[in-house]
Amino acid sequence: MFGPPREGDVLYALTDGVDDASKIHVEDLEKTFRSKPIRLLLISVRGAVQPRAGAKELKRLQDLAIDTGGATADISGKGLEKDTALLDRAGNPTSVALKLQSLSQSIPRLYRMEIELPAQLKGTERSGVTVTGTTIKSIDVNYSGRLAACSSTTAENTAH
């Protein structure tokens, strides 16, 4: 769509990972992304009735996203059932609707997070950071990414 990929290009994939009848398979995506300088940012929203469906494919896509230097956000929970109302009887947005609206604005942005690492680290070269956040019951949000190289080290072992 843009011609040859360039360093810094980003692809946002908004998908639950379920392969219904796609002509594009995960294997093809893995080959493509591993040979191109494109970061994959994967955002998945899954209803309660199908959190298991496509779980394996979604995990592969999430791993791929992290391998490209990207990140993932996974939104799921009972609050996303088919009959969940977006408006209450008075016609006002429900708490779930408001939360989804807020998430839709904040999640797709890119963030740089500074964390304090434990003094004693074990096998950190293979560890990933998982960030979770939720401000409403029945909706869970999980973020994941890989630690970038430490930009500074202190007695508290701080990483950026």
Binding site: M1, L80, L100, Q101
Partner: protein, 117 residues
């Protein structure tokens, strides 16, 4: 300005161990992005989920910094629709509106919009 995450809204773990979040800052935005929006049956079967995806796609392409080039591609079995994201905001809103209205969720059944964008 879209709301951003704050360190008070999230918790972090390294492996299984909790770690302290010192700060959460907005990072530099990319200059070229493609937004791939899944419109397959598994997504469309839950209207709330589809609306959440659509809202995220909308927020992504309508809050771009100056100088960012973007495309929004909608796919199911293959890429069905590509919407160039331009600075012509009314035109973009119109195309997104057509996309939103192009699906019929009545009685849990979805129907693909046959029009072009």
């Amino acid at each position: 300005m879209a709301p951003a995450l704050t360190d008070g809204e999230v918790k972090a773990k390294l492996g299984k161990e909790p770690v302290k979040i010192l700060s959460v800052l907005r990072d530099d935005p990319p200059h070229r992005i493609i937004v791939l929006l899944d419109s397959s049956g598994s997504v469309l079967s839950t209207p709330l989920v589809w609306r959440a995806y659509l809202a995220m796609a909308r927020n992504l392409v309508t809050n771009l910094p100056e100088g960012t080039t973007a495309r929004l591609a909608v796919f199911a079995e293959q890429i069905d629709i590509v919407i160039p994201v331009t600075s012509d905001r009314p035109a973009l809103d119109s195309k997104l509106k057509i996309l939103e209205a192009g699906w019929d969720f009545s009685e849990g059944q979805e129907r693909r919009h046959s029009g072009t964008l």
